[in-house]
Symmetry: C4
Subunit: 386 residues, 4 copies
């Protein structure tokens, strides 16, 4: 299947969401008969949704909001809420920084050490909201703070980095052995990211209940540009779904595949599931909710690396409430709102009943949607409305 | 033939009109010897043309105009003409709405219920014009209003939705069984849309005389962006043509394949036929006729869905009369006018005699035409005029 | 080799100049040792160059200039020089028309009938200049005016239309039988255009000494947009070269393959030859010579079709003398000047000695050069200068 | 593996850096455990870096700076430093030329003859800085000036042209026989450029210790546009790596593959190595150092060819110090600074230990990163930060 890059190197073709489209089947279905709920471990959610562990997206307060809307928000336990007594004041300051000064000041702000009591407080605030509580730690820090999340009675722990592998090599420190850690840890664990078959399979073998799939998922992604690393998301998800099948065959255990990143519209979410995802983790679309802690801005957690930043604070002007963004209704027609209403309509239109069922949808490789082109065409009055 | 998206998913490559071009054969032909007429059921048309069932394109009056020019216009029986005694006043209001207020006001306007007497009146106005009368109903409503179209002596009924399947699933309502409905219905029926082989084949088996092919046909299509659904139109048509061949072999009955949507120029129409279409259904090019009911604007019928709009009112500034747009003459050189003169010239230049014959034309996969690029090149004086 | 467009249609992939690049061989060569001369029939030219039969490019005067520079200019015998006693005045008027009025006025100007005495006078002016004289007629008119070119002692006749086939079908008129015509005609004949294997082979069998290859060669070509017709030029030339090989095998006669259109730079000309062309026919690059009859404008001969124009008068601001454009020297670095110096350098750099030898050069399929992108990159200072 | 361009021509698909991305393996690694040092002949460098022999990039002074930062700068022995006693004054003048006058004046400035004593002086200045000294000569001049570099005790000689072959053909002069020259020459020699398997293999057989790979490497490269020549860099490197393997098998001698050109970001450098390069040669990124002799401008050495210039003086506004550009730290997030910190992070993230090890990294063919698109997306707040 591989193409030849040159005499000394082969590679396979990878595909992103913009490269594919979902094909209707020979059935259609009432939207009311479509089930988009999601179950993982002992938990059930109305939406197959995790909210990204980013400071501009998930605070204890917005985690409760998202939870009540049917999703699972993940608090970044190494973010501002664990570094500052009054994180809201810091978030407010960030939202008021002039663009030119933003990076330097944010590099400073993230130098502040995390505090164990703030971690515990944040978790308890989420639990007090009556929703399932999830939070993330990096592989570097998870052993140090694991006791806190257990004591705070977290529901699901997420161990997350840009890339997390089952086998981290280090001569400097004793590297985390994920498999041993998870085996002895009291809470269910989701790990990621990964982006291809073997790494996904090895992460599944650590005992995680779910894996996050997505490394440099978009063609314009910073990881692609700065590091050269990335797998277009449709291929990464399909690979992980293949690993899930093999792991299920080997062990009888079904590990959830959660597509993380690269989704902007309801159509992207539908494609993620049609490629094999059980659920999606989204950040930037939720950063545009009026309830978002980012207050009109968004940034990734690798953005303010002190030596090699990979990202920038960008404007994320509010579009509507989290509810409007997730389940509508909306009067916007570009796919950025009512994301899960769109998923439901997509499944109904193509005749599928459940998320698991929709993973079997036929997809075609289709020319990319280019946003620029689209607007150019609209000005000329030639957009098709089928 | 399939490509591997990832370990767990395959897909085939699909192609749109911009991805292909028609190749001259070893013959050429006099344009006067080219026959572009179209026959369906007992009806014959000078042009292989249906006009889309959109309020900005087809009113009873414009249906007569288009009919006299040789095409078959389809009135949307669930549109404004069936909701308002004075639809022209409403269309006028829409054309005067400021952009910011358009969506909200149009959502309101389309809340008005349809009225059976207005449906009947609209049909009779078309028939009074002396042309073949066609009108559309959605699968949801067709049983309720079928009696009206029979009583009003409609010639051809179109049952149309974004996607229509031969097998609609619902636990809430008794779903329409298309095959039973068509078998017992007195008028010839065209159904659609569909966009691939199996769905097309199953629609043909319902007894329809023609099927509409096109779901999210363009790369910039709203269905692609909001729902993730769509099949590039060249592939969708070729699939439907394949289904037509198999259905003909199985039953001896030839079902017409009508390419619906995604065509902007005469070249696109030629490509639709070269991919296997018997006729084309076009909307936005006709919305730019001075006679168009949209008065310089255009919108799709899914545009004003109350919870998940998929489209927007866009400017469609008049280019010329419907006659100039369909059969010329024109002084415009971008392919948007004299659409069927261009089809005739295309067939003559490549040596084909009839629409059926032209379906056999050789096509190549060729780099996309990018409108932006084209204008950029013109500024530099490098456009080729061959 | 074919791809499947859909169940009912196959197509092969075609390539344009922007899709390919030439690969250096394991040899290099002194530019002074490279031979780019061209021989056809009894004629020898310093450059493998024909100038297009377009009114903005070739007048009797510019034909002499181009001939003295080493190329073969083709006068359009159905153009302005055959319609007006004082064609220069008409060309001057065209160059002064405001943009909005240009098309309409030019449609009028081309209504003027051609005059036999003016045809003869134009040919004799070229011959008086001491260069090889070539001129073109359309297949529709060639029988009517053939006697003139014989009497005027033309050297080479070009029979040219957008598409010319060996078998033109008509029930209205007695169609031209090219093979019979050429067999009984006293002058050597070049015919075209064509754009794929079978049509090229059949044109070769008419007895022509060369064929013109190019129909809608560029992605932005008007024939592609208006008519849907076109073959990317690299593929069209390679097909014609394949036909040349078969025809040589069948008959022992070598028919010249002349790439017509779609070339803007020296790199494009090099690629045309590397795909198998024996020579190139160029128009728009020469329209930018200060000597060009178009006086800063350019238009194709199908531009002013009265019912379906396919083209427009575009600005072609002068770049330099015809000599600078063809053989330099130049201070421009975008490939649009010193076209044949670039060809010589390209052949030397990749190690080839003659045009015939260069047809064997290795090419790769390489990502397109996008002009827009290039300028964007230059602003950011990232263009590579290798 | 070849595609058919047309009946008479085949070609294989080639890939550039923008067409590929690196895939994480199932391991990750501490950045501190990653070794990015480079050894060639008797020399060891902290970075797998050569700086291009361009006047805007390498002066004797900047060569010392780059050497101390861990790279190997190559001085162009036929550049301004060998033509002018006070090259700095000339570089200053160039930086002050108005754009319109730059090309003409620079054509004049490069007419000044080179002087042997200035060559020797430049080399001794580099050596006095205590770093490894490398300098380049063209194949045309290397025999004439070889004695100088030997006498000046240069460490490594680079013989470089746009394309250098093992077999240069000339009837005019006695061509350089590279193999004989290198065999009898006292210093280690690196030669290039080349861009595919056979030419790379033949250059290796000349006895060179390393070859430069890159001819028209970028899609926007001037060689591609003016000459039609070029091989996308990922393919060129992979081909050279294949040649290295065969040459090693045949001779037991390992010849270094140095990717030259087409790299703008740390990600590009990572991809060059993942395709098989042992080191990279970069120019334009270093032209943006505050220490760069180009003083905010950059030009290639083929830019001021008197008859067919291929390049232009372009702005290269300073980004930071050479140290910041090469090894950081940086606050820029677009990949253009801390290039080798990015390489280290890329290798750590994907689990590789050494440059040689990283050559085995899995790559995928992935949709291009389009700079334009990226900025467009950022404005809309949809960039993903994974």
């Amino acid at each position: 299947m591989d193409s030849v890059i040159g005499i000394g190197k082969s590679a396979r073709q990878a595909y992103g969401f913009d490269d594919i489209a979902i094909v209707p089947s020979r059935r259609t279905r009432d939207p009311d008969d479509v089930d988009i709920s999601w179950e993982i471990d002992a938990y059930r959610f109305d939406l197959p949704l995790m909210a990204s562990a980013m400071d501009a997206v998930v605070s204890p307060a917005s985690a409760v909001t998202i939870g009540k809307l049917g999703g699972l928000a993940v608090l970044n336990l190494e973010g501002l809420h664990s570094r500052y007594e009054d994180a809201d004041a810091v978030l407010q300051e960030i939202s008021e920084l002039p663009t030119a000064a933003a990076t330097a000041r944010m590099q400073e702000l993230y130098q502040q050490p995390v505090k164990e009591d703030l971690m515990a407080r944040a978790i308890s605030e989420i639990k007090a909201g009556g929703v399932t509580a999830a939070a993330s730690l990096t592989p570097q820090k998870v052993r140090e703070y694991a006791h806190i999340v257990v004591e705070a009675d977290l529901d699901i722990l997420v161990i997350q980095g840009t890339v997390v592998s089952a086998e981290h090599m280090s001569t400097q420190t004793e590297p985390l052995n994920l498999k041993e850690f998870i085996a002895t840890f009291d809470l269910p664990v989701i790990v990621g990211g990964c982006a291809s078959y073997q790494p996904a399979l090895h992460l599944m073998r650590t005992g995680a209940i779910g894996i996050l799939v997505g490394v440099g998922p978009g063609a314009a992604c910073t990881s692609r540009q700065v590091l050269g690393i990335g797998v277009p998301q449709a291929t990464a998800i399909a690979d992980a779904a293949g690993a899930r099948m093999r792991h299920l065959d080997e062990t009888g255990r079904y590990v959830q595949v959660i597509a993380d990143g690269g989704m902007r519209t309801g159509g992207d979410i539908a494609k993620a599931i049609a490629c094999g995802a059980d659920a999606v983790m989204i950040g930037s679309p939720l950063a545009r909710a009026v309830e978002a802690p980012g207050r009109g801005f968004h940034w990734g957690m690798a953005t303010f690396h002190s030596g090699l930043p990979r990202g920038v604070r960008i404007a994320a002007p509010p579009l509507g409430t989290a509810q409007q963004i997730l389940t509508g209704p909306t009067s916007l027609n570009d796919g950025t709102m009512n994301l899960f209403g769109a998923l439901r309509t997509s499944m109904a239109t193509t005749g599928y009943e459940s998320v698991k069922d929709f993973q079997k949808a036929e997809v075609v490789i289709a020319p990319s949607i280019k946003t620029e082109g689209k607007f150019a065409q609209q000005h000329q009055g030639i957009v098709d409305y089928t």
